[in-house]
Each structure stands twice: as C-alpha cells, then as structure tokens.
Amino acid sequence: MVNALVRAGIRQNRGTLIGMLVAVLTATMLATGLGVLIESGARGGLDPERYAAADVIVGGTQTFVSPEDASYALPERVPVPADALDAIRVLPDAAAVVADTTVPLSWGGTAIEAHGWSAATLTPYSITEGRAPRAADEVVVDGILAARTELGATITLGHGGIDAEYRVVGIAAADGDQPSRAAHVFVTDATASAWMPHGGATVVGVFARDGVSPSELAREIHAQVPEVATYTGRDRGAGEFLDAGAARATLVAIGSSFAGTAILIALFVVTSTLSLSIQRRRREFALLRAIGATPLQIHRLVAQEVLIVAGVGAILGVIPGLLLAAVMRFGFAQAGVIPSDFALTFGPIPPLIAVVAMVAASQLAAAVAARRSARISPIEALQEASTTPARVGRARTIVGVVLGVLGLAASAVPLVVPGTIAIAGPVAAALLLIVAVGLLGPRLVRIAIAVLGAPLRHLGSASAFLAATNARSNSRRLAAAIVPLALGIGLGLVQVGTQSIVAAEATAQSRAGVTADLMVTGGPSGLSDAAVGTIVRTPGVEAVNPVVVSQIIVSFVQLGDPTSEQYPIQGIDPAALGTTMDLGVVSGTLDDVTDDHTIALSSDAALATGAQLGDSVTGHLGDGAVITATVVATYTRGLGFGDVTMTNAALRAHTTSGLSDYALVSTESGMSASVQESLGAAGFTVLDHRALRAAGDGAREANSLVNLIALAVILGYIAIAVVNTLVLATGERRREFALMQFVGSTRRQVRAMMRIESLVAVVLAAVLGVLVAAAPLVGISVGISGQPLPKISLIESAAIVGSLSIIGVIALALATRGVMRSAPLTEIGSRQ
C-alpha cells in the first residue's frame, strides 16, 4: 500500500526532496573523494621508469610497523642486505640479478642521478653514440642531458659539494619510453660504488627465467628472503620512487584524518536537512495519522521515500566525488606533498562504501526524523498554523552538555600537563566541542536569539521587529543554517590556528638557537665529509657544525602499553656546537653525545617517552635500523631543531645519501665577510644564519598547504550544505512572505527582514564558531609556547570567518529571492 503513497509523496514534495538529494549527493561526493585518496594511498602511484625492464624489483621494506600496529613510511632508503642479495642470485628462476644504487649528483646547480653502467640494463638503456664508460672519469649521459652537452665534451659534476671533471664518452637512450622524472648519467661500477654511502645496493632488479611469471618469481624471492619488499607490474614504481611511497602514506594520512571530520559534518548536514524536510510535512503526516495510519506505517513511508531519494542522490554523487579526488590530487601535487605525476587509483570500493554509508546514514536520520512524525498527534492536522516544535530532546541536551564540558576540560589539559604531548587534549577537545555544538545548536541559538533579539525588536523598524520575532519562534529552522556555519568556522580556526601556533614557536626557537654566523649548503645533493673538510680548512673559520636531518620512530611504554612516536632527528658535531648552535640544554651535556649509543632528547620528547637522563631509549631511524642509546642530555628547543639529537656521523649512516644537509659555520671575529667570499668561490652556497629554517619547517609548510586544501574542500561542502538548508528552510515560508505582502509590506521590506535575519544568523554562527575554537586554541598555545594568547594569523582567521559569513548571507538572499519570485496570490490561493 505504501508504494503509491511514496511515489505520490516524492512527486508532490519535489522541492523539499531536492534539498535532501543535494545533501546526500554532496556528502557522498565528499566521502568518495576522500575514499579515493585513501585507496590511492594503498594502491596508486607512479609507473616504473628506470626499472621498467626488470620483472621484479627488490628493495628494503620501506614501512615500519610498530608493536602497537601503527604503520610508518620510512623516509630513507632501506638497503638490501648483502646476504639477501646473495640468496636472490642463486635462485634458479632468476635469470639475471642487477644491483643498483642511485647517487645524487649536481650539474650546474641541477640535480641529476648517477648509476653504475651495469645497472643500465634495468631500463634498459643502450648506447646510441660512443661507448660505455671504462675509466673512472668517463660518463655516459641520457637523452635529457645529451641536449646540454656533446660526445667528447668535458663536464663538471658535483658530489656532496665537491666538483670533479668527467668526459662524455657515450650517449644512451632507453629502448622503450624515456625516463622523464630525472636525468641520468652512468659511470663505471667502481666509481659508482665509491660514491655509495653505505656500500651495499638499495635496489635490486631481477629478471625472470623464460616461462616464469614476475609474480611467481616475487613469491620465490619472498620465500627465500622474507625481510625484503618485492614489487611487480605497475607497483614497481613504488619500489623505484621513494617519494611515491611517501605520497601514498601522505594520502592515507590526509584521507583518514579528514574523513572523520568530513563524515561527522556530512552526517549532521544530512540529518538536519532530512528532519527539516520531513518537518515541513507535519500536517500531511498528522492527517495520515488521523485517518488511521499507524506510527509504523509513517516510519515505513518516510524510510522508503528517503531510501529512494538518498539512493539517487548517493549514486549521483559518485562521479563528482571522483572528480573531487582528482582536484584534490592536483592541489596536493601543487603543494608538493605528492609527485605531480602520482596517479590515483579509481577502484569501485570507495564509491561503493560512500554510497552504502550515506544511504545507511540517511536511513538512520530518517528513522530519527520519522520518530517525531510518527508520534505526531493526529489533531495537529486540524490546526491552522503549522508551528515549529522547537523542543530539543532531553537526552540530546544531556549528551551535548556532557561533551561540551569534556571538551572544555580537555582544552585545559596543557595547564596541568607540561609539554607538547598535552596538546592532544585540545585537539580532541575541538572535535568534542564541535559535536556538542551540533547537538545543542537549536537550544544555544534560541538562547542567543533571546539575548540578541531584544534590542532588535525595539529598533522601531518593522523589518527588524519581524526578523527578531521570526528568529525567536523559528530558532530550530535558523539553527539548521547556523550550526553548519559555526562548525565550519570553528573547524577552520582550530585547523589553521594550530598550525600557525606550532610554526611560530618553531621559528622562534630556531632563530634563538642558531649562534653561528653562516649557513653553508652544497647544492642539491648535500655536503660530503670532504666538503666539510674544505670548509674547515678555509681561513677565518672557527668551527663547522655539519647538520643532517631525518626522522626517528621512538618506541616506548606508556601506561603499560607499547607506544611509538615519530620525531624529527638531527645529527650534529658536538665538538663544534659551542659557537654554532644553542639547543637550550636543561640537563646533562651535549659533549657526551659521542657515538650511536648516546643521544639527547628535547624536554617534550623526554616527557612523552618518559625517558630521563641515563635511561636507555630504543628507536628506528629513517632507514628502519634499530638503535638503542642512552640519554645524555635534554634540551628545550626541540620544535626548532628536532626532538632528538645524535652525532652527525651516526645519523648519516642511516640516510639515503649519507650527506649532511647543511653546515653551520662560525667565523673568527671580523672574518665573516671574507669567509663568505672564499666559500662562495669554492662553489658553496652561503647564506646568512637567519636563513636557517626550523626543523621540519618544509614538511610543516607542505602539511599546512595540504590541510588548507582539505579544509577548503570541507568548507566548500559546508557552503553547499548551508545554501541548501537555507533554500529549504526559506521555501517553507512562501505563505508567510505572501501574507506579509498582502498585509502591506513591500517586497523590499520582506527582503530587508530576511537580510536582518541572515545577519543575525551569521553573527551567531561566527560567535559560536569562535567559541568552539577559542578554548582548544588557548590550550594548544599554552602547551606549545607557554603563552595563553594563541599566535594565529588574523588575516587567515578573518578569511575563514568572513568567507563563511558571506556564504550565509548570499545563500539567504538567493533563497529569499527565489521564494518571492511567484506572485503572492498564487501562494495564498494555493490550497493546503
């Protein structure tokens, strides 16, 4: 029986249901987009270039899984152990095994990659002109570089800041597609291994015997040497390009960190749109109840209607969702967190999950909304005016208040617990407060309107009076527009604010902590030991502190559970520290950092890991190697320089290039200018010490761009949701507007009334949003910098508040205009 009613209901309430459709469509779009990012993190990537010929690519395992099952992408190349290489060589199905290591060189300021000539078969490259390299100073260049030089020419290549001359003896081209992500030169195997930082190979290409499939071979390799990672087919790109692996990890991280917030907001939007659209039909449901529809029948009616509408909306949302993923990919590539040629995986699973989740969510929302309609008293059908039942359920209020209080309490954690770990409190607090505002929204809005409305009513303007009165009696409807705006504002402020607080403190620390006069870098590839020696020997130099930065995953036990945390780590020369770097040591001394069994921790890291002076700490370095070291010092400037410090030599043994990133140089008094000059002449890049960026600044910047992109996507979604809600809520007022015009208001007055209402809504949203953000931000600021006043960019904050406010005002104006387009008579005249 219900089917006919469902069909008729959908036909009749097209306007209202379109609102619901749009809400579900956009929510699905958002969920699909984020889902594609996550799936691409698991499967997407780059096509192999340099290793296109090899059947199986073998590399070290680039992920580290901590005891508590957290997975980290390792930032440095993990070498393939020598015995693993031997084990692979003797596999009967392996026809050829070729080891390779990429050596970063610089040529006239640009970064290029060098390999031993034997590894040319992995592409394969073959000589088109000239011959293979035979002497130590001979090179073969690829097609990209051939354009810059010619056969027989002498070129200058730099490794680690030390230049040498080479003769071009050959030009090579790939048999298939030419690798384009990097330019390559080939040297003799002997020269290449002399450059290899850690001796062994980092990538091994294996060719299968005829009749053996790559995946079979990969299985055999894995069975023989389980500690290595194997890549076949398209996946070989992930083995070739370390940044592809990092990009994957980034995508998973971004996708999942935003998925939670996005789904929360989408649920809220879908639910409130749905209950709004169902509420508009109260009288209809009351009439059905009067003539004998049971509550269950009303439930089923609503559920089926919603199923059809939400189903259509969800399916329509898939394609835009895929486009959204592509747009976000573009944004992330622009931000530099994923390679610009990183390809997304468009599998069926993310859209499927998004559709199912959104349909399920809307069914849930329908059940809640229908509960109200099903319980409706049949006599309401007889009442002339459809009033808004503004009551917020008691349970909802209680949950809202509890979450709100918890949120405030969590914001205050940094007041009690010292250090950066305490900011986990405020970060969680922001989410708690956002949910609380979502739940308490209508009630808060009513209270706020009572306060704000009083002066408006006494302004003497008819429009202002009407606006204030309407807002009071329709607070629920207004709340449906205010709450998403407030959530957007709150979310945006917390997100942007947290980043700028951290960045400001990090910069302040590194400014205060660098005591050297100059900062020296050696072009794109870093500084080798030889280069550091050259700097040390430069007249006028007092001390040289070579610095290398990487990441360490520290494992520790917290409250009885194994935990791990990734920290930036720097490798320095403790002997040169005195005049180059001041870490703000609070206990112990950095002089005791002497080998790979001694480290220093920032006070934050010490607190988080529970390690004290003399304690032993276990961690995994960037290449996955385990170190166990004694804490010999703690210092305050962890955010500026990295939370863990060890010796330069010990850390470089575990980085891809084995080179230092830069050197801090102090000069004898008055010699700064001359040192700068002679180092410049020797081919180094010399910068003022103020140019030093805080540890992890680059990563933070990319990260903040990423967050801004994701934030923009969520805010965009909120904007659509608000417009949609307002159009829906305003459409309900056709009769009211028509009646107002009949009793003598001009169209202008109606519009003025709506403008005032929208201003009220926007102001309330801004206030609520700022309140949601304020407590967590103060908490975070106290935790990070010890200052209660958060250092956040006023322009960014104003942009967030302003853009959402403008969206609100425009949405309401458009909605009002749309509603008033029809003549008042047709509205009043239209029966029911």
Binding site: E284, L287, R289, A290, G292, A293, P295
Partner: protein
C-alpha cells in the same frame, strides 16, 4: 456555569443495526463516561472537558454547539479516538478506545471511524480517487470498486476523480472528504465544522450530502458547528459550555437553537 449531570439520553433506533457492529448492552454507537480532558499541568492547566457522560444511539445525527473555547473540538477529538482523555472512558461500538495505545487506536480509527475536518482534509499529492480510498490502502485492504464508484458518484465527483486537491473548490474538497469518511463503512462519522470554511450555498450542499448519505447508510454522525441553521438539520443538538454539557434539544428549529445559544451567552 453549572454542570449538567443528566445528559445521558437515549434516542430511538431508526432502521436495523448492522450486524457487524453494535453494543448489545446499550445499543449505543458512541458512549462517553466521566470524560475529563486537561491540557497542561499546574497553574497553566486548562480543563477543556470537565466530566462528560453521554451516549449516542446508532444511526443518530447529533450536532454539538457552544461558545468558542467551550471544548467542542476537544470533545470531538476525544470521542473519535484522535486524542485520549485524561480520565474517563470512551466506547465506540463495543470497543473501549480510551485506553488503546497509538497503533491499536490508529488501526481502530481506520476501520471504524470517519472524519471530515474544516479544512486540510486531503493529501495534496493524491488524486481525488486516491484520497477517497486512502483509508483502505492504509488498512491494506483491497478496494471494493463498485463501492468506491458509488461513493464518488454520490458526492458528485465522477468527472473530477483524477484531479488533485489543489485543483478543486473548497466545497468539492469537502465532498471528497465525506466520501473518504464513508468508504470504510465506519461505525461513526465525526465532523468538525465541515461547512465552516464554505459560503452558505456550498455549505448547504455539503451538509445535504452528509445528511443524506449518512441517512442512507444508517450512519451515526457527530458534527460540531457554529451555525444554528446547520445544527437544525440534526436530530439532536447538544450544548457545551466551559467543558461541560449544559443541555440538549431534540428536533429543534433554527430559532429554538438561536434562543438557546443566546441563553448561553456569547457564541
């Protein structure tokens, strides 16, 4: 205003009772006993009905009159099972409906009770024909087509059966509502000012239809009205004031009703 406790009256049967319904004990179609309805609690409490005892015989046509706010609509809702009384009992046929839960009550209503309200009677999405058969659909019953066609024909809407409510005049809408109220062959039909929103000619048409059809089908009808001329069509007029029964007239003329209403004060 004094309460009138002797309002229980029986009215003669006209025609045989249908075999499917009827309370052998009393022979009444609708019976109220000590019905009290209070809105709100505490100081803001409103006593809308202050203990109504009443029994209406099968096939009777009763009009309810009284000043605005006297509790007429409340009485009708309570008697029809749209609302439950604060205390007291309501029987329709053999069933005591005052203690039924929402679902049972809804099922009872769609089988045994018909309604005609002042306005907003119809679902805008449905055609005339669909609106008329809506109670049957809700009950999951098949539509008895000859019966449906007879109902639509009786209210004179043969040509308009495919139209939507928005395409009908007010009088036509009320006639659809009457057909819908009778489609289930209910035990009782309740009408709250069914002609209140119509001009006098359309009002008379609708009223004639209601009287004639219910008479033909031997239906029990309870109708709230402000209009003495309308009330005069009823066999019996019951007067309410301040939530209590304050009198009844049998077969009264318009003038008698007017006089009685004037006696009750404002109306």
């Amino acid at each position: 205003m004094s309460r009138l406790d002797t309002a229980v009256t029986t009215v003669d049967h006209r025609g045989p009772a249908r075999a499917t319904a009827g309370s052998p004990a009393t022979g009444s179609a609708i019976r109220l006993q000590g019905v009290v309805k209070q809105y709100g609690t505490g100081t803001s409490a409103v006593m809308a009905l202050r203990g109504i005892d009443l029994s209406l015989a099968r096939g009777s046509f009763t009009a309810i009159m009284g000043p605005s706010g006297s509790g007429k609509s409340t009485f009708l809702h309570t008697a029809a099972g749209l609302d439950t009384p604060t205390s007291g009992s309501v029987w329709i046929g053999d069933t005591e409906i005052s203690h039924l839960r929402a679902t049972r009550l809804a099922k009872f209503r769609r089988e045994h009770v018909g309604f005609v309200f002042q306005a907003y009677n119809l679902l805008p999405a449905l055609s005339v024909e669909e609106n008329v058969t809506l109670p049957l659909r809700l009950a999951g019953r098949g539509v008895d087509k000859p019966w449906r066609d007879r109902m639509i024909h009786s209210v004179g809407l043969d040509d308009l059966r495919g139209r939507r409510p928005a395409e009908l005049s007010g009088g036509q809408q009320q006639r659809v509502a009457i057909a819908r109220a009778l489609i289930t062959r209910p035990d009782a039909v309740f009408a709250d000012e069914p002609t209140g929103a119509l001009d006098s000619r359309a009002g008379k048409q609708v009223l004639d239809l209601l009287v004639q059809m219910t008479h033909e089908l031997n239906q029990t009808v309870v109708m709230v009205t402000h209009d003495p001329m309308v009330a005069a069509r009823a066999e019996r007029v019951i007067f309410l004031a301040d939530g209590a029964l304050v009198g009844a007239l049998e077969g009264a003329t318009t003038q008698q009703i007017v006089d009685r209403m004037t006696g009750l004060g404002t109306w």
